[in-house]
């Protein structure tokens, strides 16, 4: 019996090059004649730009060129926004690649220098004199939406980029009839994604042919090729975009940025390859941020714990300009998920997208769904406190019962399948929740403050189908493609349109193909990230690579299998109807000895000496897969914390995650995704925050100032799972990349508030630094 690779935790095929240093990231590339670009960025959050004197920079050693916005305004069109959310009065403000008359955030580009080496380029930046006249700045989205706030864009009244609303069910009745209403104002603080690889671009332009090759740290090279044609004018057929090894993204490498297009501009002008690497400080200033919501939430319920309605208003900071996909994140990816795993019957949400003098905001791991999950799960705990029920019991009372053929929500989604009560039960039983509650009570008697925090979640991923993309204003499709090509020796090339950057699909996709057509995983090479060699695809984000790309691949592999069966039948002089694919071989049913391996079939298909009638040579298939629906992974998480009353220090003692992403292709990789995701969410709760001062300076402008999770501050994450297949996916899989982040922030938040409940603390803004927690305790207890 051939061993099935689906479900096996084999080692990753990516790793040998990564553990030996031979992997090639963008910054590792060197081309003959290559020169280096550096960007001059605004030190002001808001200012008018007067004269720019570049003469000293131009004369600086090694400098080839200095360009300002006046030089690039013809060659570089404004940055496009590609998610035009409908029915939202969307106002897309002009977003120039290089600012000319006004800068709108610290980090806005005002000039670029190209020099023979990077040190020379940075030296020359210091020699550019820019005349700025500072203007008042605004950084908080709720304040920016108020009367009299500084205007980020003169033509956008009240800084309102959009107003989007979603509603379903009778919310007014729910609140009129409510026996209990709980309210809270939550700050989803701004976060900095911090992919370990900073962004980089290398552009090579042949002035004779007009051919461009752009190596870039992108999660979606095909989208970038399209946007590049819009901004730089290099037609799609002339542009080859390559995402080489990409060192993480977490959403921040979805959007197109001025940096790569300016690099292309310089390469076109100079006829020499131009490389640009952002520094980490630039990454903090100018690579997109995440979250940044001010949320006001009310939950209506009955005294027995039944949730009857949710009403909320969100001010979502967009930053100074609308990044590529930004408008869709606090709206479509957020508001539609508010019914959560409770199927809340009445929902009303207003979302105000607001321009501020800050770095543009984009998708950040979870993208809208963590913010929605947080709102609901926090309010569930508030409700539990209000009615004196255990938070676990409130959840049990409201969870949608198990279903396998669709559940419709009042926001218009159809969850594909789910078994939320089992996930929660398994969590409570594994963690021994009852014992933890007893230990908590004992500890309190001795003055120790232990807290338990639960969250349950359902998320939507595998974004699609494309018809929905059109309806929600996404300026693209949401299908995926794959090509499976079998060579004469039975070795396989797989070409995919998505662009993994650390998630391990070179391995998991090889596992899929291996089972489907009868080869070993080591016989399959997965090729991605090059628009000249891979079929069109929409990229890796929204946990969609396996959920959509994996489905495309399975279907392409099955086409290859079907053709292999026909050729094998011919070679075995059997009828096709009598053939089967069993034990990794193409055999005659009932006669396992009469069989051909894929290699034998592939050789004949490729030499084509003896093919069945009307069958083309070659053994290759491609698919374009447009999913019929999203997939909806879910789970239940528990955090256990202890808070030191004297110092405000939060100690995360235990973390248990149950996630259901359907059948797992490679459980080791799934577990790794959960670890990373959970820790990113913990980071939001405990440590991370992008802080701007009143003048719009980014105070947390380096890794020294922004507190990222470190190894020594984390407990071992306990990872468990349940398996509920998606009914519409060819492999039943759902996606796991964002799950951990969606669930964990609010689990930790609830745990800290549970610990502090006896002290009368009701709310603290994240992150839970010791100072904030200590102050909250002091205020609640008046120092006693």
């Amino acid at each position: 019996m051939a061993t099935r690779l689906f479900g096996s935790g084999i080692r990753r095929r990516e790793d040998p090059r990564l553990i030996t240093g031979s992997a090639t990231y963008t910054d590792d590339l060197t081309l003959p004649g290559m020169v280096h670009a550096a960007m001059l960025r605004s030190p002001h959050a808001h200012a008018t730009v007067g004269t720019i004197d570049i003469s000293r920079a131009q004369a600086s050693p090694g400098v080839l060129a200095v360009y300002t916005g006046k030089d690039t305004s013809d060659g570089l069109q404004p940055m496009p926004c590609a998610w035009l959310v409908p029915d939202a009065d969307l106002k897309v403000a002009t977003y120039p690649c290089i600012a000319t008359d006004t800068v709108r955030y610290v980090g806005d580009i005002v000039a670029v220098v190209v020099a023979e080496d990077p040190y020379q380029a940075y030296d020359a930046l210091d020699l550019i004199d820019v005349e700025y006249t500072a203007l008042p700045a605004v950084t908080n989205p709720a304040e920016a939406a108020g009367d009299g706030a500084p205007q980020v864009h003169a033509d956008v009244d009240k800084n309102q980029a959009f107003h989007w609303a979603v509603s379903g069910g009778d919310v007014d009745a729910a609140f009129k009839d409510a026996e209990v209403v709980v309210k809270e104002r939550i700050i989803q603080q701004r976060l900095i994604p911090n992919a370990m690889e900073p962004r980089a671009a290398l552009a090579e332009y042949d002035q004779a042919s007009g051919d461009l090759t752009l190596w870039n740290t992108t999660q979606n090279p095909h989208i970038l090729r399209f946007l590049n044609s819009v901004v730089t004018g290099v037609p799609e057929d002339r542009a080859r975009i390559i995402a080489p090894e990409v060192g993480g993204g977490f959403g921040s490498k979805i959007p197109a940025y001025p940096g790569e297009f300016i690099t292309v501009f310089c390469a076109k002008q100079l006829g020499r390859p131009v490389k640009w690497n952002e520094t980490r400080s630039e990454n903090y200033q100018a690579t997109t941020h995440g979250r940044d919501h001010v949320q006001e939430i009310e939950l209506a319920a009955k005294k027995d714990g039944t949730i009857t309605g949710l009403r909320c208003t969100v001010w979502a900071g967009m930053g100074a300009y609308l990044s590529t996909a930004a408008p869709g994140i606090p709206t479509i990816l957020h508001g539609l998920m508010l019914p959560a795993c409770y199927g809340i019957p009445a929902i009303k949400e207003d979302v105000y997208g607001v321009y501020t003098n800050t770095t543009p905001v984009e998708a950040y791991r979870g993208a809208g769904r963590p913010e929605a999950t947080f709102m609901v799960e926090r309010m569930v705990d508030r409700l539990a406190g209000e009615i004196g029920m255990d938070p676990a019991d409130v959840r049990k009372k409201n969870l949608i019962p198990a279903f396998d053929d669709g559940h419709d929500t009042v926001t218009g989604l159809t969850y594909d399948s789910g078994d939320y009560p089992t996930a929660l039960d398994k969590l409570l039983s594994h963690a021994d929740y009852a014992r933890l509650r007893a230990e908590q009570a004992t500890a309190r008697k001795s003055g120790r403050y232990i807290g338990l925090g639960l969250s349950t979640y359902v998320e939507m991923c595998g974004l699609g189908p494309s018809q929905v993309a059109g309806a929600i204003g996404f300026q693209g499709g949401l299908w995926e493609s794959a090509i499976v090509r079998v060579h004469p020796t039975g070795k396989v090339h797989v070409f995919i349109g998505t662009s993994p950057h650390g998630q391990g699909e070179e391995t998991t996709f090889a596992q899929i193909v291996a089972d489907e057509i009868g080869v070993g995983a080591d016989d399959v090479k997965v090729i991605h990230g090059d628009t000249d060699t891979t079929p069109m695809g929409w990229g890796t984000y929204g946990s969609r690579t396996t959920a959509v790309g994996g489905a495309a691949l399975a279907k392409a592999a099955r086409k290859v299998r079907d053709k292999a069966k026909v050729i094998a039948a011919h070679l075995l002089e059997a009828a096709v109807e009598d053939m089967e694919f069993a034990d990794g071989k193409y055999s005659v049913k009932g006669s396992p000895d009469k069989a051909k391996s894929l290699a034998e079939v592939a050789l004949m298909a490729n030499v084509a000496w003896n093919m069945p009638a009307n069958v083309e040579a070659g053994l290759e298939a491609s698919t374009f897969y447009d999913p019929p629906n999203f997939t909806f992974p879910f789970g239940a998480h528990l955090a256990v914390v202890e808070v030191d009353k004297a110092t405000g220090q939060v100690d995360l003692k235990r973390y248990v995650a149950i996630d259901d992403c359907g059948p797992q292709i490679n459980p080791v990789i799934v577990e790794g995704q959960v670890h990373g995701g959970v820790v990113q969410g913990i980071g939001q709760a405990l440590w991370e925050q992008a802080v701007y001062d009143d003048s719009g300076q980014l105070v947390t402008g380096s890794m020294l100032d922004y507190a990222l999770p470190r190894a020594g501050r984390l407990p071992e994450i306990e990872v468990l799972s349940t398996v509920t297949p998606s009914p519409h996916h060819p492999l039943g899989v759902k996606g796991i990349g964002e799950a951990g982040t969606i669930a964990s922030t609010v689990a930790v938040y609830n745990a800290v508030m549970d610990a502090l409940g006896p002290l009368g603390v009701e709310t603290i803004d994240m992150p839970f630094t010791p100072e904030r927690v200590w102050r909250a305790i002091q205020q609640a207890t008046k120092g006693h």
Partner: protein, 157 residues
């Protein structure tokens, strides 16, 4: 004005004239082909640029090339011996201790330093010992497992 230096990298001697301000990490990366050492930040926080300088782990962004004159540097490319992966490399592979791989060279060399000082570390020792290296993908858990696994493998040698 440039300054002559002679730095041995992975057993091979390199004589170069460098600017006094050139960072060791840029010296290494500019040698041609040795780009496994990464630059992940500009404040010495991330540890992606960690190399061994005369056997001791340093962040090569915090060291000038002229300071390394006469020294021997080992980078990630020099850790495997005659094509055989170092037990730390094997362990990171076995335990899925990496995802995007960008922090991995520095993480492996920092782990090398950790095990040099403490060949039998507890999980807490490992977590403490790797505080100077950032990873955004793994949540560190499988890195801890990998280092523990490597410690066992090295003990058996």
């Amino acid at each position: 004005m440039k300054v002559p230096v002679n730095i041995t990298v992975n057993g091979r001697s390199y004589q170069r004239d460098v600017e006094p301000r050139q960072l060791l990490v840029h010296f290494i990366r500019d040698l041609g082909g040795l780009t496994g050492t990464k630059v992940g930040c500009d404040t010495s926080q991330c540890g992606s640029c960690t190399v061994l300088l005369d056997g001791v782990a340093v962040k090569s962004c915090s060291c000038l090339a002229v300071q390394a004159d006469g020294a021997a540097v080992t980078t990630i490319e020099g850790l495997a011996e005659q094509g055989t992966l170092h037990p730390l490399q094997e362990a990171f592979w076995d335990k899925h201790g990496l995802q995007c791989g960008f922090c991995t060279p520095g993480m492996i060399l920092a782990s090398h330093e950790l095990l040099r000082h403490n060949p039998d570390p507890s999980d807490a020792d490992i977590r403490h010992g790797l505080e100077g290296n950032l990873c955004r993908c793994t949540g560190y858990q499988n890195i801890v497992r990998a280092v523990r696994h490597a410690a066992d493998a090295l003990a058996e040698k």
